[in-house]
């Protein structure tokens, strides 16, 4: 197929799979397109920590042979993808974004990687992240990841590279991990779609842990349909993860076209109309609400009084879990951590038990509040982030006061952590741009294991908007 390589690079994963199946694009050709773009663009974006060109081309050649021989093809056959460097990849180093693991080469793939490969995906490489998926990294050991819409701005985290690579056309789709917003935040800041599935829907085996009760692998892509197909590939019980659910996996892509007519959607007042939400973000989200109403959704405002505390509740619990994970290295290799990571984990090591108990009990109340709302509503709606991507410099330097802690950590996390604390599925989907050209994102939260409704509503909105079709400057 003769086409502008940039046009090929920005095709959806499903379009690529269809062209491969129809023998209009070769897996080798599309893999070379992405490898060339990574070589040309990634020195300034820093989406990737490790690229595996030889392995990718070897896989692509095998995929091409399978097509030419008429062998059975998986749903993602010939689709080049990349993964957050938090997931183990056999024979390919997996750093978790830290110098501590810079030479770590796993012998086994994470279950999610095995499943994406079985679906026909071609692994391009490992993507940058905040150190150990924590957030607050000051000096990225493998290069500062940058937002493709404005290189001086934050791409979001912790799955930073997963958002950048999809937005900039450096892969067709990616995998991230969302403990407290780490898929949805980079999706929001980079202008792509990101899904946090229901906790336990996707195996965590082979993913470096942060918090056992919240860690959730999730896909990022340029369309909701792609996210649905990636979820289809990775969802389901895994004997290697005892906490993975045995609940049957439904079909996700089929119902996408069912629309939103009659769906009841609750607009979360505290997060949509609250004082922390930027006016441009609020207006874009409310325009999306009007769009969903025109499509037949029935909306109403609801109040969830505990969500403003969600960021702090999350950090009291997840950070304490993280301190447990890191307790040996904190004592034996403190100098190998980034300063921001080390201080966050050291602080978490000292959280009083009474405070953790208060947070754990408040989490249970928050879950009950959300469950009650979703007993009569199909979806909850709010911004994914209170503002568009801030400048990288805004989160640099030592913390010199407690107000700074609230500003850097609690406020923005209160938009993405309610779904994490409640174990609910949530999607981030582009819903506009600021006047300065940075993406804005809508968040839809659904009932446990009802990813199908979340995806269906996001798809219906996406079909009515043009935001997903824009490309960041300098990525042609």
């Amino acid at each position: 197929m003769s086409a502008d390589p940039a046009d090929l690079a920005f095709l959806s994963a499903r379009q690529i799979a269809a062209l491969v199946r129809e023998r209009k694009v070769s897996p080798v050709e599309i893999t070379r397109v992405y490898l060339e773009r990574i070589e040309r663009l990634d020195s300034r974006l820093r989406a990737y920590i490790t690229v595996v060109p030889d392995k990718a081309l070897e896989t692509a050649r095998a995929a091409e042979t399978a097509v030419m021989c008429g062998q059975p093809l998986g749903p993602l056959h010939g689709v080049p993808y990349a993964v957050k460097d938090q997931f183990d990849t056999a024979g390919v180093r997996t750093t978790s974004g830290s110098r501590i693991l810079e030479d770590h080469v796993p012998v086994e793939d994470a279950t999610t990687i095995s499943r994406l490969n079985s679906a026909g995906g071609i692994l391009l490489g490992k993507l940058n992240l905040t150190e150990f998926a924590l957030g607050g990294t000051q000096q990225f050991p493998f290069g500062q990841p940058r937002n493709p819409w404005n290189l001086d701005h934050d791409p979001g985290g912790s799955s930073s590279g997963s958002g950048i690579a999809v937005a900039a056309g450096l892969c067709a789709a990616s995998l991230g991990e969302d403990t407290g917003g780490s898929v949805r935040s980079p999706a929001s800041f980079c202008g792509v779609v990101g899904l946090r599935p229901t906790w336990s829907r996707v195996s965590r085996h082979g993913s470096f842990p942060l918090s056992w009760s919240m860690d959730t692998p999730g896909p990022l892509a340029r369309t909701v349909e792609d996210v649905a197909w990636l979820l289809q590939a990775i969802a389901g019980y895994d004997a290697k993860d005892p906490l993975s659910s045995r609940a049957p996996v439904p079909e996700y892509a089929g119902p996408l076209a069912d629309g939103v007519r009659g769906l009841r959607v609750g607009i979360v007042r505290e997060l949509t109309f609250g004082p922390d939400t930027d006016a441009e973000v609020r207006e874009a989200v409310l325009e999306a609400v009007r769009c969903l109403e025109r499509l037949g959704a029935v909306t109403e405002e609801i109040s969830l009084r505990l969500v403003p505390f969600a960021g702090a509740i999350f950090m009291a619990l997840a950070d304490a879990d993280g301190a447990g994970v890191h307790h040996r290295w904190l004592r034996s290799r403190p100098g190998d951590y980034d300063q921001g990571t080390r201080r966050r984990l050291l602080t978490a090591s000292l959280i009083p038990a009474a405070i953790q108990q208060r947070a754990a009990r408040a989490r249970a109340l928050l879950r009950a509040e959300m469950r009650e709302a979703l007993a009569r509503l199909d979806l909850l709606l709010c911004p994914t982030a209170h503002q568009a991507a801030p400048p990288i410099a805004a989160a640099r330097g030592a913390i010199t006061g407690r107000q700074e802690v609230a500003g850097r950590f609690f406020t923005r996390r209160s938009y993405v952590t309610p779904a994490a604390l409640a174990g609910l599925p949530a999607i981030a989907v582009p819903c506009g741009f600021t006047r300065s050209g940075l993406p804005i994102s809508l968040q839809l939260i659904g009932r446990h294991f009802d990813e199908a409704t979340v995806l269906r509503a996001a798809h219906a909105y996406e079909q009515q908007s043009e935001w997903s079709r824009r490309r960041p400057p300098g990525t042609s």
Binding site: L346, R363, A364, R367
Partner: protein, 62 residues
């Protein structure tokens, strides 16, 4: 709960065998006091009647 001082945070860290610098201590104290302050209003809720579990049964039900 009253504010923790850097001396108190340092003593806690030392008791746990955590290697911290003076700069670490100053920032850790801000972080810890901010977290405690942010969660203070939750003490007004009827938390004693709540089971502090993450609700795994519900999420993993088949």
């Amino acid at each position: 709960m009253s504010d923790l001082t850097t001396e108190q945070v340092g003593a806690l860290a030392a008791a746990l065998g955590l290697p911290v610098t003076a700069d670490d201590l100053a920032e850790m104290t801000h972080r810890l006091n901010a977290l405690i302050e942010a969660l203070e209003p939750l003490a007004e809720l009827p938390l004693e009647a709540v089971e502090p579990v993450p609700g795994l049964g519900e999420a993993s039900a088949s």
